[in-house]
């Protein structure tokens, strides 16, 4: 089985996916952050798109730039960070050249974000009710009474009991799980077309992580929103994502429909990630899980060739040059010199 190497222009579409009417479209996003010893190329080349009413999961290990990607879309990068892209649109509107005022009109209104840290993402000095109703009133969706009504409705919808009573409480009176539910409700207040959820369950107890993610997936379907879910929980990805984008060292290395990526991973890194998931029946108790040897490369100063080649069991001569983006069936794309399935390839010696 082989796939044609496509030219660069078409490759953009391959990584982003052929989407008729995307809510969010990003092409060749790069984020550079000046640090003490140079420039950190935290996001090097990310293309993705979120179709209306679908879920795109961005996966990858810590520091691969997946959180920065979502912050870059929202225009919330830390000061000093530099954002460049060939294209970045929200419902066809250019986010790159957008005025701060227009961006404020969209934020919290038509595109909303849920953050990684529920414990610190709510203002300790204002009540839950005030913080929930704030975007609704600010974006002119209605008055105080309507905002409160919507807040109660959404708090109940995200599984918070006695919602009316919660409105007068302060964040410190709520557990982490409840606070994240409040954050989700807050994101939904204005009925956004796009939700960016940046590892929304990382800071939570394992027992409620799955609950929150399922809630998000459910709400996404119910409200027909586009959802960009940044996560490293591949187990959840398999269940909720329509499409997956796998990131490594600031690049999307593989993307495609969830089933295609999971059933036939083409990039050795994707394969490694999937092998790390324990699956009852496949992994016998007591046997070690798969691991990916080596460390993520330092992205200060930039990298040429494949960033994964030092950890790759299939690395070969061409890996230090320009890496082609290849296309398979169903918008399945990957950034690797291997054209056949990883399963059919022969590992070369692992370079330490």
């Amino acid at each position: 089985m082989s796939a044609p190497v496509v030219n660069a222009a078409a490759a953009d579409d391959v990584m982003a996916g052929h989407v008729a009417e995307p809510v969010l479209e990003v092409q060749h996003l790069a984020v550079q952050i000046p640090v003490a010893d140079g420039v950190l190329h935290a996001v090097r080349d990310v293309s993705l798109s979120v179709p209306r009413g679908e879920t795109l999961c961005v996966v990858g290990e810590s520091g691969c730039g997946k959180s920065l990607t979502s912050l870059a879309v929202m225009g919330l990068l830390p000061g000093g960070a530099r954002r460049t892209a060939d294209r970045m649109t929200f419902l066809g509107e250019d986010l790159l050249s957008m005025s701060p005022g227009r961006l404020r009109e969209l934020r919290g209104n038509r595109m909303a974000m849920i953050f990684q840290e529920p414990m610190t993402s709510l203002n300790p000095s204002w009540t839950i009710g005030d913080q929930l109703t704030e975007p609704f009133i600010r974006h002119g969706k209605g008055g105080k009474a309507q905002a409160t009504e919507r807040a109660v409705f959404l708090l109940e919808r995200v599984g918070i009991a006695a919602a009316g009573r919660r409105l007068v409480q302060y964040p410190h009176e709520l557990s982490g799980g409840l606070r994240q539910r409040v954050m989700i409700a807050m994101a939904l207040m204005c009925g956004p077309e796009l939700i960016l959820a940046d590892e929304p369950t990382t800071a939570l107890d394992v027992t409620i992580q799955a609950e929150i993610l399922h809630l998000l997936a459910e709400l996404q379907r119910e409200f027909g929103m586009g959802l960009l879910l940044v996560t490293h929980d591949l187990g959840i990805v398999a269940r909720v994502a329509h499409r997956v984008a796998v990131m490594y060292a600031g690049e999307v290395v593989e993307s495609g429909p969830t089933t295609a990526v999971f059933d036939d991973p083409r990039h050795p890194y994707t394969r490694g990630l999937i092998d790390c998931i324990p699956i009852p029946g496949r992994n016998k108790p007591g046997t070690p899980l798969g691991t990916i040897p080596g460390l993520v490369p330092n992205l200060v100063g930039g990298i040429t060739g494949c960033a994964f080649r030092d950890r790759c069991a299939y690395a070969r001569a061409g890996c230090d040059g320009a890496i082609p983006v290849q296309a398979g069936a169903h918008d399945h794309g990957w950034r690797c010199v291997l054209s056949e399935s990883v399963a059919d390839s022969t590992p070369t010696e692992v370079r330490a």
Partner: protein, 305 residues
């Protein structure tokens, strides 16, 4: 909130009594008051007579108890120099000092808050450094020097403001600016520090993500959290102004508490000194109480404590 307030009030009362006791004792052990009052040439018999007359020969605890009991009923004794009761003396001087200090604090905050906020938002730019420069200047220039400069410029050269006395509100402007100018830097630094920290916090990012205008993010979401330590410092600064405006009151010839205290100390008018000590102690207690309540209102997490 009410339970919190009552508990704080009770605590404030205890602190007030303790502070007044310590102040009373300190005055007694600072030297023999009878000898000081009798003068250098007095005979031992004179000293003994004075000791008897003012009840200084009794145990300190008894003296304190009697004084406190009288003080509670509003009787702070009589001045040794003025033909007036201490309470009267203080009450006639208090409005001057209160006006001066209140205006001083308002001016300090009018300088400190905007400068601190702008410096924090424009961190590490020339604006920030300029604000720091102003802060250093305010702290480095002695009170009396700044006061005299103002008198020279606005009082004498330009003739815009009266240079002494306390008859009208105009009389208070220069002394209040002198006081406020001196307090502003430390308040500004604290505001800046608080804002810098708060502006990088996750909930500020959330506020931006909600699409709020910068003004709302800064004034509603950031300032309320950043200002909590500033409130506590304000109460201390106000206390300092109330009790420590001696220099300013002297430079501008304002007949306030600070001036009275300085007079009383130099004349060993100990009933007046005691009265002022009690007043200042009460000032601090009340101000701390107000700061606590304000902070509890600002920060709901404190209310549980």
């Amino acid at each position: 909130m009410l339970r919190f307030a009552l508990r704080r009030l009770l605590l404030a009362l205890v602190v007030g009594i303790a502070v007044s006791a310590i102040a009373f004792m300190l005055l007694r052990i600072s030297g023999d008051l009878a000898i000081a009052l009798a003068g250098e040439d007095a005979s031992p018999a004179d000293v003994e007579r004075i000791r008897e007359q003012y009840g200084l020969n009794r145990p300190v605890i008894v003296q304190y108890g009697e004084w406190l009991w009288n003080a509670v009923r509003g009787d702070l004794g009589r001045s040794l120099f003025y033909p007036e009761s201490v309470a009267n003396l203080i009450m006639t001087r208090l409005p001057v000092t209160l006006t001066l200090s209140a205006m001083g604090l308002v001016i300090a905050l009018l300088i400190a808050l905007p400068l601190g906020i702008i410096a924090a938002l424009k961190r590490n730019t020339w604006i920030d450094r300029a604000a720091l420069g102003i802060a250093v200047m305010g702290q480095a220039m002695p009170n009396f020097w700044f006061g005299l400069l103002m008198i020279f410029l606005f009082g004498l050269a330009l003739g815009w403001l009266p240079v002494s006395g306390s008859e009208t509100i105009w009389h208070f402007i220069m002394p209040a600016v002198t006081l406020g100018w001196f307090s502003a830097p430390v308040l500004m630094r604290l505001t800046r520090g608080g804002m810098v920290e708060v502006m990088t916090s996750d909930y500020i990012r959330t506020a931006h993500a909600k699409g709020l205008p910068v003004r709302v993010v800064v004034l509603k979401h950031a300032l309320r959290n950043a200002i909590i330590p500033v409130v506590a410092l304000c109460s201390v600064q106000f206390g300092n102004m109330l009790s420590g405006s001696v220099v300013t009151e002297t430079v501008f010839a304002l007949q306030g508490i600070g001036y009275l205290a300085w007079e009383a100390i130099s004349r060993r008018d100990f009933p007046v000194v005691q009265g002022i000590l009690l007043l200042v102690a009460l000032f601090y207690v009340v101000l701390t109480l107000i700061a606590d309540l304000l902070n509890a209102w600002l920060d709901p997490r404190i209310r549980r404590g």
